[in-house]
Amino acid sequence: MAGNAGNITRIELPGAAVDVVRKGSGRKLFILHGGGGPVAAMPFADRLAESFEIIAPVHPGFAGSAIPESFDDLQDLVFLYLDLMDTLDLDDAIMMGFSFGGWTAAELAVISTARLSKLILVDPVGIKVGGREDRDIADVFATPPDELARLMWHDPANAPNPAHMTDAEQETVQSNRVALSLYTWQPYMHNPKLPGRLHRIDVPTLLIWGESDGLVTPDYGRAFCAMIPGARMAVIPEAGHAPQMEQPDAFVGHVMSFA
C-alpha cells in the first residue's frame, strides 16, 4: 500500500523534535495519524496530495522515532503540536485526525481553532459515552491478535500481517504500540473532560466512520458527532477502523466534498 513518501523534515521544538512529512500542493491539510503509525505515504494520501498540501507530523515514538524523556501522556503531544502549528504558522488549515490522532485533533481544536478552517475526525477515540462498566473502546493492549483484527477491519485479511514484514518493520510495530500506550493508557483512550469541551469547536466538522468498526462503533461516532456543534458524520460501508485503507475511493470522495 506504499505510495509517495513525500519530503520529511525534522523540526526542533521546545522539549522535542518532530518529523514532518509534506507532499502535494494546495490548501493545507494537517494530518494526525493513529496508533497504526504514519498514513501520509498511503494511496489515499497520494490522491489528496493532488488537491492539498499535506503536512503530517510523525508522533514522537512512532515509526522508529524516540519517545521524548519528558513525555508522559497525550497532553504532551497536544502542546507539542500547538508549538508546531505556531512554528509552521498554519493558517486556514484543514485538520484531519485518525483514531487517537482524531482524539489529538479534538483536543487541539477545543483549545483553539484560530489556525483551522475545518476539522475531519476519522474513527476517533477520546470520549467515553457508556457507563463505568461498559467497554466503549476495545482494549487493544489486551485483546488476542486475531480478535483485534476482526474488530478493526471489515475484512480481517486486510490487517497488516507480521509474516510479511521484515524484522525491523516488526520492531517498529512494537515501538508504535509502546508510544500508543504512553499516549492512551489511562484513562484508557479518552479524556473524561473532553465531552464538556467539544462545544468550543466552531469550525465545520466532519466525522468519517467505517461502518464495520468494532474498535469504536458507529454508535460511538454518532454520540461523538452530537457533541460538536453542527458536525455531521459520514459512514463508509465495508470499512472498519481504517476506512482510508479499506475504502480509499469512498474516503477521498467524502473528504473532497467536505473540504
Partner: protein, 410 residues
C-alpha cells in the same frame, strides 16, 4: 550459604489446560473453590513452618489474577508467617513496586512485618511480571524507573524518624509521611531486588542490595552475576561479598534417582502450567521492541516459560537440581563454580501437585545431606580462588535461551 524454601502457593486443582486460553489474568475464578483454597493456604503455611523446622529460611512472593500463585498480597502472608514462625528469616521477594500505587503503604506493611517478627524480614522489591500490567492497570513502560522511585520513597519512609516529610516525584506523591511503626531492624531490613541482565544488576550492586536471579541457568547466569560484580567493584572498590548474590531454581531430592526424577517431573508444573497468550505476556513497554517482536511472531514462547519443558533439559540448563543428595550437591556445586558463586540459594521446593509429604521428604534430605555441604562451600569462599575456578570453566555454548530470557529479562 543460606537456603530459602519457596513455594508460589499455587492453586493447581484446575480443569484441563486445553479448556482455557490463559492461566493468568482471564481464567475465570469460578474454577477456584474456596474450601479447597482454604485447605491449600493452611497446607502452604504448614509447609513453610516445616521448612523452618528443618533449618531453612522462608521465601514468599505475590502475584495477581493467576492460579500459579494465589497470594495477591504478600504482606498478609508475611504477617502470618511473622507470627507463626520463630527463627527463620522471612524473605519477601517481592513487593511489585512498579505496579503498586502507594509506596508508603508498602513501607508501613513491611515495617509491621519486621516488628512482629522481631527483625526477621528481608524485603525484596521487584518491577513485576508482564502479565500483571492489566490487573494493576499500570503501563509497564518505564517500570524500572517507577520501581526505583518507589524504592527511594520507601527507604526514606523507613529511615525518617523526626516527623513528616513530603515527596513529589515523577510518579509518586506523598504528603506528611511519618510511618508508624518504623522497622525493627536498623536502619532498615536487608533489601533484595531481582535482576535479569547485566544492566539491571548494576544499580542493585551500587546500593549493595542482594541481587536475586531466577532460573537464568547456564545460558545467562554469567553476564548477570558478572554485571553485578563489576558494578559493585566499580562503586565500592572491593569485590562483592558472596552474600549479595542469590540464585533460584527448582529442587527435588530423594534417596533414589528414580524417585527424585518423579518428584522433579511433578515440580515442572511450575513451568508447564504457565500458559499465557501474547496479549498478556507482551504488554506495550515491558519488553524491548526487538524481544516484543519475537514474542508477537511467536518465535519464542509468549508466556516466557516453555510449556513443553522436559526434566532433562531443565536440569541441563541449571534450572532444576534433581537427584540423590550427592547428585544434587554436585549439580549445585557445578553451577555455583560456573556462575562465580552465590551466597543464597532460593529453593522452589514445591510446585503444582507435589504433596506436602513429597515436599517434606525432599527438603528433609536437602537440609540434612546437601545444605551442610553448601554451607562449607561458601564458608571457604575466596573471591580470588573462585575467580580462578571459574576461569578454568569455559563458557557453555550459549544455547537457544528458549523463552527464559524473556520471562526474566527484568
Amino acid at each position: 550459604m543460606k537456603a530459602w524454601f519457596f513455594t508460589e502457593d499455587a492453586y493447581p486443582q484446575l480443569p484441563d489446560q486445553d479448556s482455557y486460553r490463559s492461566i493468568r489474568v482471564s481464567l475465570p475464578n469460578k474454577h477456584y473453590d474456596p474450601e479447597t483454597g482454604a485447605d491449600n493456604y493452611h497446607q502452604f503455611i504448614d509447609m513453610w513452618l516445616m521448612a523452618e523446622d528443618l533449618g531453612l529460611e522462608i521465601m514468599l512472593n505475590e502475584h495477581h489474577q493467576t492460579a500459579t500463585c494465589v497470594v495477591p498480597s504478600v504482606p498478609i502472608m508475611a504477617g502470618i508467617l511473622a507470627r507463626e514462625s520463630k527463627t527463620a528469616r522471612i524473605l519477601v521477594l517481592g513487593n511489585p513496586l512498579a505496579n503498586l500505587p502507594r509506596p508508603t503503604r508498602t513501607a508501613e506493611e513491611m515495617a509491621m512485618v519486621d516488628v512482629i517478627s522481631r527483625g526477621r524480614l528481608e524485603c525484596g522489591f521487584v518491577r513485576g511480571v508482564p502479565y500483571e500490567s492489566a490487573p494493576a492497570n499500570v503501563s509497564p513502560y518505564r517500570g524500572t524507573e517507577r520501581m526505583w522511585e518507589a524504592h527511594d520513597l520507601i527507604i526514606k519512609s523507613w529511615t525518617s524518624h523526626d516527623g513528616p516529610f513530603n515527596f513529589e516525584g515523577r510518579w509518586f506523591h506523598a504528603r506528611q509521611v511519618n510511618i508508624w511503626p518504623r522497622p525493627y531492624q536498623q536502619p532498615h531490613p536487608p533489601v533484595w531486588v531481582t535482576i535479569g541482565s547485566a544492566s539491571t544488576a548494576v544499580p542493585v550492586a551500587e546500593h549493595e542490595y542482594v541481587g536475586a536471579v531466577f532460573l537464568a541457568g547456564y545460558p545467562r547466569i554469567r553476564p548477570i552475576f558478572d554485571g553485578y560484580r563489576s558494578g559493585y567493584l566499580a562503586r565500592h572498590g572491593k569485590a562483592a561479598p558472596i552474600g549479595r548474590l542469590a540464585y533460584a531454581a527448582l529442587v527435588y531430592v530423594a534417596d533414589s534417582e528414580v524417585e527424585a526424577k518423579s518428584g522433579g517431573e511433578t515440580l515442572l508444573w511450575y513451568m508447564t502450567s504457565n500458559k499465557v497468550p501474547v496479549e498478556y505476556s507482551n504488554p506495550p513497554g515491558y519488553h524491548p521492541p526487538a524481544v516484543a517482536a519475537q514474542i508477537a511472531r511467536g518465535s519464542i514462547g509468549g508466556a516466557g516459560i516453555p510449556l513443553q519443558a522436559t526434566l532433562d533439559d531443565q536440569m541441563a540448563r541449571g534450572n532444576m537440581f534433581c537427584g540423590t543428595p550427592d547428585q544434587v550437591y554436585e549439580q549445585i556445586k557445578a553451577f555455583y563454580d560456573y556462575s562465580g558463586g552465590f551466597g543464597h540459594f532460593l529453593i522452589m521446593g514445591q510446585a503444582g501437585h507435589l504433596t506436602f509429604d513429597q515436599t517434606r521428604r525432599s527438603m528433609t534430605l536437602f537440609s540434612r545431606e546437601v545444605y551442610p555441604r553448601l554451607k562449607e562451600l561458601t564458608a571457604s569462599y575466596d573471591a580470588d580462588a573462585m575467580g580462578q575456578t571459574r576461569a578454568a570453566l569455559p563458557d557453555k555454548e550459549a544455547a537457544d535461551l528458549g523463552a527464559f530470557g524473556v520471562e526474566f529479562a527484568r
